[in-house]
Symmetry: C2
Subunit: 141 residues, 2 copies
């Protein structure tokens, strides 16, 4: 059963983000021009606040346990055109202008392989997998 | 540092999904026609396998701890046009043909509110928020 707090969160117009046990929301970033999904990442409360306040995407890295402004090392920043939040306020969708490429491997999107199961067994097929930058040059200098 | 297993997962063409501690992947479903993000949900290994095998979206509900074929109660099914997996294989993106509406509240997308901060304070504004079905009628019969 839905509680009145659930209904308020779903139908209200107050931002009440529901962070998980680790203090995180899921964030999906899409290219504002093409609709392509660029990446899925996480935001803690501070990353969400900084994104809203600055109009630039900030995330929280689970592997590094660190707040992170997208592009602060690589230069591949994301300007937020619109942010939406989902029904239960545990996920946000940002439509962004991506500077260069979103993926740390140098591809425009992190989703550069499709799952093909046409012969009964799933395998991956590269798609839109050209590198726009060389990660060795960008991250190791 | 990246290990050779990390590089293999990022650059290889073998499906090696990286489930989290709860056995789940994040899944983003977008409308194949419009690019709109419809929902963010989770898949366990069985949901992923059934989605690949059937071409219909299956998820794992964290709140109900149950495998769930999208639309099995509501009739609002999702036919998968393409599935992609991200660089570290812990998220999938499915482009779907959505029958009716994706959100349990009756909206086409779960992202029916945008975050507006134009006056310095974040508030939510409905956008594309028309209900395509009545959740009371669909879920309580």
């Amino acid at each position: 059963m839905s509680t009145s707090a659930d209904i308020d969160r779903e139908e209200g117009l107050v931002l009440q983000p529901k962070f998980d046990a680790s203090g995180l929301l899921t964030c999906v970033a899409t290219d504002a021009a093409t609709g392509e999904v660029l990446m899925v990442a996480h935001m803690n409360e501070e990353a969400l606040s900084k994104t809203i306040a600055s109009g630039e995407a900030w995330y929280f890295s689970r592997s590094r346990s660190a707040l992170w402004r997208k592009g602060e090392t690589s230069g591949q920043t994301q300007r937020v055109i619109e942010m939406r939040i989902d029904c239960d306020q545990d996920a946000v969708w940002i439509r962004v202008e991506q500077q260069g490429a979103a993926c740390h491997t140098g591809r425009k999107s992190c989703f550069y392989r499709k799952v093909d199961s046409s012969e009964g067994k799933a395998r991956l097929v590269p798609v839109d997998a050209a590198r726009l930058f060389d990660p060795e040059a960008v991250y190791r200098k």
